[in-house]
Symmetry: C2
Subunit: 111 residues, 2 copies
DNA sequence: CTCATCCGTTAGCTATGACTTACGGTAAGT
DNA sequence: ACTTACCGTAAGTCATAGCTAACGGATGAG
């Protein structure tokens, strides 16, 4: 699975916070770290993880480095979730119907 | 965020495997652990995490315990992702347009 | 050229999580 | 009643993730 990295990346709360801030617009690392309860190198490491997961892209801007959401990574995880959603819901419905069949006689019974 | 638990739960590869198996239909713990590279108690612990994240439900069946996907938990994480998707894509488009404005003085490129 | 700013990387510490083994509890079969 | 099957939980071990402090490289201003 390609999106395994994406799920692992979004698991950390600090990384989620960084990602949500970037969703409102591109930001350099320093400004991104300002207001967060962790140091700047920590944010830099988180950004590295997010980048390897395909969730963000970076671009040099003078002495700064601007990070930005990568729609592609977000699209991949969304696609996986959609496929999974259909599969799980179908199995769920099938089980509900089967439960309706066994509703007359209670505990153990065979068809 | 309520779905923080869901993301953390789906981060672990073993838990992802368990979850994907359950997507194809309900299963008891023993049969779920059969074929996985970890022990049965490990699977039981994973199921506990998935349950607390609202991703699965369990139901006693004699001496066994049958686990099943909970569409509600999957729906919540999907809703969050959808909202996030719109927000991020809008910011992304805005940035692309702004990039078009600064194309004259920069390293020129425009379709 | 020199200085200051901004950033990525490394080393090292600590905390968290995933796993196994061992145990107790419940339900079904004989 | 006894045995067997199935499961959850507790204790303990080991690996890994996240963090800080310190360092070095690149860019822009003076």
């Amino acid at each position: 699975m390609t999106n395994a990295l994406a799920f692992a990346a979004l698991a950390d709360p600090t990384r989620r916070e960084v990602f949500e801030r970037l969703a409102r617009g591109p930001l350099p690392v320093g400004e991104l770290a300002r207001g967060l309860p962790v140091s700047r190198p920590a944010v830099s490491q988180h950004l590295k993880v997010l980048k390897e997961a395909g969730l963000v892209t970076d671009r040099p801007d003078g002495t700064r480095r601007v990070y930005q959401i990568d729609p592609q990574g977000l699209g991949q995880i969304r696609a996986w979730l959609d496929r999974f959603w259909d599969e799980a819901l179908e199995a769920f419905k099938a089980e509900v119907e089967r439960d309706d069949d066994t509703q007359d006689t209670e505990t153990g019974n065979k068809p």
